[in-house]
Amino acid sequence: MTVRDVERALRTALSRGGDWAELFWERHETLQLVLDDQRIEDAITGVDQGAGVRVTSGDQTLYANGNVTDVDDVMAIAGRAARSVVDGSGLHEAARLVPDELSRPHSVAIDPRTVPVERKVALLRLANEVARAHDPRVSQATVSYAESVQEILVANSDGVHRTDTRVRVNFMVQVVAKDGAVLESGFEAVRGTLGFEMLTEDAVRDAAESAARRAVLNVGAQPAPAGTYTVVLSSEAGGTLIHESVGHGLEADLNLRGLSVYSGRIGEKVASELITVVDDGRDPGQRGTAAMDDEATPTQRTVLIEKGILRTYLSDRKHAEKLGIPRSGNARRESFRHLPICRMTNTMIASGDSDPAAIVRSVKDGIFVKKMGGGQVDVVSGNFAFEVTECYRIRDGELAEPLRGATLVGQGPKLMSEIDMVGWDLGYSTGTCGKDGQGAPVADAQPTLRIPSVVIGGRVQ
């Protein structure tokens, strides 16, 4: 599509009124290979191409989208968006487009599309072998490789015209261990917004080893107890805690409407002074990284909470304007099928001053969480829950027996004000965040943390 074609689409979008229009065009190429039950079972590839045209008119947003093959299809979608404008009071001109290039947070060394498929298959086999050799109790392994290249173009009636290419790889290992009638599974992934260079043999081996070790550990572990305990979260555990307990609550769309527990609290103390929270959409190679968000706003490093004081929210264009805060480059959409919404990229609690080993030693009786899984938050009440996939009892400052089937629940602001030790280390984890039916690749990070008292979900002994 030429710049003139894009201008024509924006003019069409505003032809029946409306204040502002935007075109989002996308071409997404994917390849997925799955090894399951010792066999390469699936090889799936495809191209998904589409466009979405948005027109705003007062407080209303009109959005039309669909698959497109050629420019005429894009014009048809622009026409559909225009026809939805109900109150077209006054016509607005679209500004002449001024294409520009944004600097990239990192460069991709090896485009995965250029790597022979035999190499990808060999990595699947390697992970399968490593996982199965780990322990005789390993009974099944599923290994998958996915590559994704998303090219986008975003243009709007303010004259913005920008493109971005997001190259992602995602290598996942799921292992089942069996002991008698008990089955347990273990999971590990290597993934990022990077090229094939991420997938070294060592990285693949480590992932397979970790997934197998976790499955075997859990199959022999005792059920976690239920109740209130002191918990140490290892930096290795990843950042599900910060994502669920704080991150979602700082999304501007919820705050504009006063629906978050953090609404109207900029400048106030919302966490312990040991806590600084940052969202960084430019962290090189991380899963949530991109040059720009899905409204063409450049991504940035945003300090959300500084030593316990709330500084700002994660914003898109609309909510930044309404709340009178800067645009933070956090408007993201799963694909052309969706409107962008405010959400996280790579979110972390900054490192502190404590020795991680000393944090564990400080606990007489508690729980050490070594790996977290998925989580969920009710942003209105602040209540959150997250899954623990690897944890141990702490007895007299030492790690003791492993425990399985634990969940941590709490309330965001309360938990953040109670954290009383923050380690000098930092560990990352990756995931896919779900909000309003849209998935987005994200990363989270945190140092080792001590929570004096939190509810653990497990079995009543």
Partner: protein, 450 residues
């Protein structure tokens, strides 16, 4: 603009390309969907969306190797490229002698899943439904102060499938749905209540019921207190029971059974649930939200009792696993989209109605906890069956609400949960995902709290 090929022309062109490439066995699927949705905020229309989605998926079986490709480019060159890619994918996978492409001809059957004209409804009609949801919620209680999101959406979807073995069929279906998250406020405390419903016909969707239930869900949580760690009887209303039942369905997948990933492996004929429990998968339910005449592989769907009064009777089976189990395929190859190959899954999957009056179930219990929301359902591990979820609830004494609770967990194993069902209500209800359940009483579960 090149002439747009019709859905049938796309299928014909794909079959022709396969034939001229001497591909002996393959399956082609086209899905064409038009949908619209509206979101409201505080009495006004905020977002209006119109979507068109159309694409092709091709599955090639080359000898004993399978390959899959999809495209949204339905020009002749795009279709040809997609077929080429599917053939290339089939050179990467490893042979499996039980892979099959459907051969059995399909009968036409009317499942009452289509209402014409849904996608042409005026915008104002769509908006009116969402606004009626908000109004109904506000009418429940003045403490309903906000909405996180209220929406109405509908869709008109055509699916065409064809195989090189002569299977060819299509069906058209409609959906409409409304949902809201109502927020209740009292003395600085805020609680949210979600509810959504779906239907095949607009006349079957009740905006009042959506708004009312969401509001009640929010109001019932106000004044929530912490709760001590203990074991006690748990009541799951149909909506809460459905969400847990959804997590149980992977245990029935023949693929999981064959690969040692299901606790139901080798258990056909065994008792796997309390004798009060009968679980049915019915893809032929009239007007069902997951009813379809054939599955994603072009195999006729069926109605089956999976658990009969506590005893496991069978699994959910596709063409490949039917070969491995020497049984008939059950039409459970579910196709999420044209862009993904079929995966084994349930259709309209439900626990059959029991004989207990739902209110009477709790009246005889000294103490019980009625669950009002569950957090982290997506983390339930179907392999181990272990679950440990965040929850809110209402503490009951002799069936009377004493106070709401929050910040708790409920934990157990799915297999243990099925055997601990000690009461099954008469109030079978189906939700927006096609899953159904009556009220269930669980004899005892671990609750984590203070």
């Amino acid at each position: 603009m090149t002439a747009r090929l019709s859905n049938n022309e796309v299928v014909d062109r794909a079959l022709e390309t396969l034939r001229s490439g001497r591909v002996a066995t393959a399956e082609v699927l086209v899905r064409d969907a038009l949908s619209g949705s509206v979101e409201t905020k505080d009495g006004a229309l905020e977002v209006v969306t119109a979507r068109g989605e159309r694409g092709l998926g091709v599955r090639v079986l080359d000898g004993q190797r399978i390959g899959f490709a999809h495209t949204s480019d339905l020009a002749v060159s795009g279709i040809e490229a997609c077929v080429d890619q599917a053939r290339r994918m089939a050179t990467i996978t490893e042979p499996d002698q039980d892979l099959r492409i459907a051969t059995a001809p399909l009968d036409s059957v009317d499942l009452d899943i289509y209402e014409p004209g849904l996608e042409n409804r005026p915008l104002a009609d769509r908006g009116a439904i969402a606004l009626a949801v908000e109004r109904a919620a506000r009418a429940v209680d003045p403490r309903i102060t906000h909405f996180r999101k209220t929406s109405y959406s509908d869709a008109d979807v055509t699916t065409v499938i064809a195989t090189t073995q002569g299977v060819r069929a299509s069906y058209r279906e409609s959906f409409c749905g409304a949902m809201t998250s109502a927020v209740a406020t009292q003395n600085g405390e805020r609680q949210i209540g979600y509810h959504g419903e779906g239907a095949r016909r607009i006349g079957e969707l009740d905006p009042e019921s959506v708004g009312t239930r969401a509001a009640q869900r929010a109001i019932e949580k106000l004044g929530a207190k912490p709760f001590p760690t203990q074991k006690l009887p748990i009541v799951l209303d149909p909506w809460m029971a459905m969400s847990l039942l959804g997590a149980i369905s992977p245990l029935f997948s023949a693929d999981n059974v064959l690969k040692g990933r299901s606790l139901f492996a080798g258990k056909v004929g065994d008792r796997v649930a309390n004798e009060r429990v009968t679980i049915v998968d019915d893809a032929r339910r009239k007007g069902g939200l997951r009813s379809a005449p054939f599955d994603g592989e072009g195999v006729a769907t069926t109605t089956r009792t999976l658990v009969d009064r506590g005893t496991l009777r069978g699994y959910l089976v596709n063409l490949k696993t039917a070969g491995k189990l020497s049984s008939a395929p059950t039409g459970n190859a579910r196709r999420g989209s044209y862009a993904s190959p079929s995966r084994i899954g349930p259709s309209n999957f439900y626990i059959d109605a029991g004989t207990d009056d739902p209110a009477a179930l709790v009246r005889d219990l000294g103490r019980a906890l009625a669950v009002t929301s569950l957090l982290n359902l997506h983390t339930i591990d179907p392999v181990s069956g272990e679950f440990s979820l965040g929850a809110t609830g209402t503490y009951l004494e002799k069936g009377t609400a004493v106070h709401p609770v929050q910040g708790i967990t409920i934990a157990g194993n799915l297999t243990h949960l099925l055997s601990s069902i000690s009461g099954v209500g008469t109030d079978l209800t189906f939700g927006a995902s096609g899953i159904g359940s009556p009220t269930l009483l669980i004899a005892e579960l671990s609750v984590g709290g203070t």
